[in-house]
Each structure stands twice: as C-alpha cells, then as structure tokens.
Amino acid sequence: MRPSFFHHLHPPTIPASQSRFRYTLGAGGYSVFLTLVLLVSGALLMFYYVPTPAEAGPSIQMITFLVPFGALVRNLHYWSAQILVVVAAIHMLRVIFTGAYNSPRRFNYLLGLSLFVLALFLDFTGYVLRWDEGVRWALVAGTNLVDSIPWIGPGLYRLVMGASQPGPAALTRFYTWHIFGLVVLLLGVGVWHIFRVRRDGGIAVPPPEQRSTPQRISRFELVRREGLAALIGTAVLLLVSAFIPAPLAPPMSEVTSQAADSSAPWFFLWVQQLLKSGDAFWMGVFVPLVVLAVLGAIPYLLPAVKPDELGRWFPRSGRPAQVLALILVLAVLGLTLAAALAPPA
C-alpha cells in the first residue's frame, strides 16, 4: 500500500511497546484531535458571534437556541476546550512520570508547557467572550490581577483591556486574541512541538540493546489506531455535547453591582482559592508563575532519567520530578476542590 498524505505525517515505524495506549494514554494525539475540533467549531461560531457588549450575549443565545445545530457546535467547542485542558495536563504528567522530558527533549518539553499555557489563555479568553453575568466576576478579578503586578501592571491592564474598565475595547481585544493572536501562536508552537517530537527521535525509548522487545509497528497501523481513537473521541464528544449544554447566563448588565456568579472558570479555581489567603499579586500572579517556573525547570535542574529506564512509567531515577509534579498536582487539585466546595459568599 502506498502511504497517503496522512501516513506521511507519521514516522515509517515506531517501537511497539511505547506506542501502546497504556503508555501514551493517547493524550498528545487527543490534544491534536481536540485542537482540530476547536478550530472547525470555532470557525463555524465566528459566522454568528458578534463581539460587541450589546450583541455578544444575544448572538450566543441566537447560536444556542435558533441556529440549526448551533447548540451542538457551541457545545462541541466548549467541551473540546474543557477536555483539552485535562488531556493536555495528562499529556504533560505522562511526560514527567515517564521521564521523557530529558535532553534532547527538554526544549520540546518547554514548547509543550507553553502550549498548555496558551490553551489556558485561549480557554479564558473564550470564556470571557460570553460577556454574560456568569463571566463578569472572572473578567473583573482576572484583569485586576494583571493590574496588581508592580510597575508594569497598570500599563499591562490598559494593554489587555484597552480602557480603564471592561467595555467594548476589552471585548474586541479578547476576541482578537482568541480567534487570531493566540490561535496563530498555538498553531505555530504546536506545529513546532510536533516537528520537534520527530526531530528529537520520536517517543522516548531505551537504547536498542536494552529494549524488552525489538518489535515496531508501521505507520499504517499507527494511522489505523489514530483513526479508531478519533472515532471514539468524536462519538464521546458528540454524546457529551448533545446532552450537556455549555453554560450560559443573562447578558452582562451595568445595573447589578454584585455579579451573580462569583467564581472563576474551573481551571482557575485553584488561583481563586489562593487569592482568599493573601495579596492579589503574590497569590494570584506570583505563585502561579512560580508553579509554571518549577514545572519548566524540571528537565534543567533535576537529575536526568537514566536512558535504560526510559520508555516506561515511573522510572526510579526520575523520582524527584515525579514527587514534585505529584505535590503540585495534589496542591492544585486540593485548592480547586476547596474552592468548588466552598459555600457561595
């Protein structure tokens, strides 16, 4: 069989034991899949969404209730974005817990980490585009965090918001970042990330003489597996999107001073919980940046995983990184849970 364009996007063969689902969890592949769903569904939404404060809410209601299959497309976009955050985090943890972050892959690890941050920014900007009562608190609190940064904060705030408070300029900027700026960055860094996977030698494996099996699978088999994963992923996404609607609230009003829903989007709940215990800048900006820096520093500061331990879960020589990542994950999950379970103020 002559390899098609899609086959050519894959290496001719890859090691069998490292191409198993239980090793990769399919997280990298699913991240690409979800990004593609997001691009297509987002492009469809752009035909109807109107990025002005007066029309944003009504246009989303129009998409949700009146456009044929509009609700399905919007729900697909929403759920793909939420699941992408989880899947990308799983992908990152898989890399850490299998010790795949070492040189020569450590730069690609940083690219991956920046993709994760971009995904979070895309998620947040998309969330704000609803411009309804459900997002007002997060918009005000999130942008006030920017304002709290010493020296550059106020200037950065003006840059993000385009004005001294949320309004048409801010919505235009969030929209432009969401559909253009961040997407271009995501695609650029994403393609670079995928290119570096192959340039850095494909999936991390032990040296040939130390592999448990020399078996490899062909790109035909790999594409078939990806096709199956995409089939299942599509079906699950459709099922979730058809039956669980994406959140929607009344359009943002100037009248009510107290936002009805004073909680951050779920992926920033841990930051919201941190904010309860201290200064906006230190808890809301500094600590998350430290978490990011610690994650980024793992391949540079911690001892490298021994080559013969690569290609399997939880290599002994990668313990420090595994423990560090585990602590961070538990801390973020714990804070998220605490924020989610806290009684409303």
Partner: protein, 419 residues
C-alpha cells in the same frame, strides 16, 4: 483491528442517531417581531396559549419583552425568565417605571395626565402615609397627625400650594425597627399588608398582585398560590368592586394586639355581608362599582402627597347630585384631546362624543360616564356592568339638607337603606 474499527464506527453511528433524536426534541421556535421594538422575540414558542393582555396592548405591537423584560432569544425557561422585570409581575412598583413607564407609555406628559406611574407613587394607596402617621401620633412618636413617613421614601411631583397647604413635600421611609414603641414595631410587622408595594395576604379573597396589577387585572377570588395555574394575563380599566375588596373590607386591625384580624367569611351578598355592620349605605354605594364614582386620581394619586385617605378622596354625594342651589358641575367636550374621550374610548360602552356635556368634579376631573341628555337630565352608564341609571339631582327635590352639611353621613341620615 478491523473489528475494533467496525465497532468504533457503529458506536459513532449510534451516537449520531442519539444526537439527531435530541435535536428533534427541541421546540420549533416561534418568532414574533413586535412593531414597537422591532426586535425579534421567541416567547410565543412556549406562551402561545396566553390570552392577549388587553385590546390596548396588542401582542403584534407590544410583544412580551417590552413590558416583561427577559431574554428574548432564549428558549431555555430559566435563562429566558432570568432577567424578567418584577418576576411574573412587571408592574410591581420597584420596576413599573421601566415596564409600564417610559415617555411614550405611562410615564408620559403630566399635562396630558399620562404620568400614571409617577402619580401612583404619590398615592395614599402606595404611601400608606395616613395609617403610619395616625399610629405614630397615637403612640407618641410624632407630635401631629401630619404625614411624615411612607412605606418607601417619596417626593411629591407637585409642591404644596403655598403656606396654608398642609400637604407634605416629601415622605421619609417608615422603619419599624427604628421605633422605640413595641406597638409601632408590631404595627410594622403585622399591619403593612394593604398597600400597593405589599404582597397580598394568603387566601383567594385577598388575591391580587402588587403595583399596577393590584387593581387592573381581575384576580379577585382566584387561587394565585396554585403553582400550575394559568397566569392571569388581563388588564382592564373596568375594575369591578370585587377587585377593590381584595384589600378593602377584608378585616379589621386589632389595636390591642396590633395585628390584622382577617374576616373569616367569604361574603356573597354585597349589601348585607360585604361591609362593616355598623356602616350605612345608600343604594348607589352598594349597587355601583367603586370606580363609577371615585376618580382615577383618588385611586392613583395626582402627584401631590396627602396626609391621609380623607384628604385624597374628595368625591362627595354632591359631586354627582349637586346641592339644593347648584346642579353638578359640568363641561362640554369641545375637542378630541379631551381626557374624557380618551377614558371613554377604553370603555366603549359609554358612547361619548364631541359636544356631549358631562359632569366634572371640583378639581375638573371628568366623570365621563355621567352624561347630560338632550332633555337636560343626567344619565350614568356604569363602567363595569354597563347599566344605565337616571341621575336624581338634589336641586328641585324635597331634600332638606343644610348647604354646609355635605358629608355622606348627613345624606345617610335620610337615604341609607335598611340592612
């Protein structure tokens, strides 16, 4: 692998069928573009069975959102209803200015008397100022019977006319918690049920909404607490006495316990059951509806603040019947802009036209259902029941009234019916 791919495809097909089924279950949107707002709304998708609220508010012109607010595009009940003004009652006085008001609607020109919402805020039915002043005076919280406080703070639309005018310029909010006398605190807790801002007491006989809808929809006697009831979606200016009785004649205040004692019966016979046994009535007082004699500004205010009910209510027997020396005041309708024609238009059973002479009150308010006939006599057409009554005048009758004795008690002395 082929089997897996087949199974995966099958799974996707099943999901696609489920998605199609879910899509087919969604309601088919019903659009309406009201001519006034020009903005499409989809409320009729679910509410097509609601009757039109009144002939003056055709749904093709007004739609739903103009009065009710809400999310006009949402087909999810919770979201669609989330921003409705005043919940199910957009005429609650907290929001009536937005719902019923507006310069083209009921917050219009004061000269043309289209400023209903502003005036009703000054009405004694809204302020409850007389009861509050009377109680506060009785328990030593203020040194005169002059009104100082109301249910909510309010400013008069018209300043008192000169130094002799005792009507207040503004009223502050009555705050029972700030009163030191426990009776006044109890009064605040138990007796503030009968003003236009208050929720009605439970029971079908009290059935009314708040604000404008306390009077204008005929709710009396219906069970408003029934959760699955069909909404009362009707406005009228032909308000029957039964609607007034949702507040009036519904019990007594017990001044010892400072509580409201609801009457236990559900009266049927108007003359014998409805009213307090000691009060006296003439035939017109129990055969006509309240609004056949009482005017719009008596009920809804005229922009002045009043110290109590007696001050705001000025229609007397003589307003219609005149005195020994004077017939009732009259006015001949000269042009189409006359308020009487506008009011009669809303109740077409009164065939009023330019050239007709009607009775007017001391303040010049038209008693537009009291016309002078060609033979010089007067005829009343009742606003709700559409019955024609000849109007007997005092002048030329055998009445022996003294000119200065015009209060109803003097008339009752001879004209009260036996109960």
């Amino acid at each position: 692998m082929k089997i897996r791919l087949f199974a995966g495809t099958l799974f996707l097909l099943v999901v696609l069928v489920a998605v199609a089924w879910q899509a087919a279950r969604q309601p088919r949107p019903v659009a309406l573009t009201p001519t006034i707002s020009g903005k499409e709304e989809y409320c009729l998708t679910c509410h097509a069975d609601l009757p039109e609220i009144s002939a003056s508010h055709p749904v093709e012109s007004f739609g739903c959102v103009l009065c009710h607010g809400g999310e006009r595009l949402a087909l999810d009940a919770d979201l669609a209803h989330s921003t409705m003004r005043g919940g199910s009652n957009p005429s609650d006085l907290a929001v009536a200015g937005l719902s019923c008001g507006g310069s083209d609607c009921h917050s219009g020109s004061p000269e043309l008397q289209r400023d209903h919402v502003g005036r009703v805020l000054t009405s004694i039915q809204t302020t409850y100022a007389g009861a509050i002043a009377s109680l506060r005076f009785s328990f030593g919280a203020q040194d005169s019977l002059a009104a100082r406080q109301a249910i909510a703070p309010v400013q008069a639309l018209h300043p008192p006319a000169g130094n002799q005018d005792q009507r207040p310029q503004y009223l502050e909010a009555f705050d029972p918690a700030a009163e030191s006398n426990p009776f006044l605190q109890s009064f605040g807790e138990n007796c503030l049920n009968c003003h236009l801002r208050a929720e009605a007491l439970p029971g079908n006989e009290y059935a009314r909404f708040t604000g404008c809808a306390a009077c204008h929809p005929p709710t009396a006697g219906s069970d408003l607490s029934e959760p699955d009831r069909q909404p009362v979606h009707q406005l009228t200016t032909a308000i029957p006495y039964t609607q007034c009785n949702a507040c009036h004649n519904r019990g007594n205040y017990d001044l010892r316990t400072m509580s409201f004692v609801p009457r236990p019966d559900a009266p049927a016979d108007r003359l014998h059951d409805y009213y307090q046994p000691i009060t006296q009535f003439t035939r017109c007082e129990y055969e006509l509806d309240c609004l056949d004699c009482h005017t719009r500004t008596e009920a809804m205010g005229d922009g002045y603040l009043y110290n109590d009910q007696q001050e705001q209510q000025y229609v007397q027997c003589k307003t219609c019947h005149g005195t020994l020396t004077e017939p009732p005041l009259t006015r001949t309708i000269r042009n189409e802009a006359d308020l009487a024609l506008r009011l009669a238009y809303l109740n077409p059973d009164v065939p009023l036209q330019i050239g007709d002479t009607i009775v007017v009150t001391d303040k010049g308010e038209p008693m537009w259902n009291l016309r002078q006939l060609t033979d010089g006599s007067f005829e009343m057409v009742t606003k709700v029941t559409h019955v024609r009554y000849p109007l007997p005048l005092v002048q030329g009758s055998a009445c022996t009234q003294k000119p200065e004795e015009q209060e109803s008690r003097y008339c009752h002395a001879c004209h009260a019916v036996e109960r």
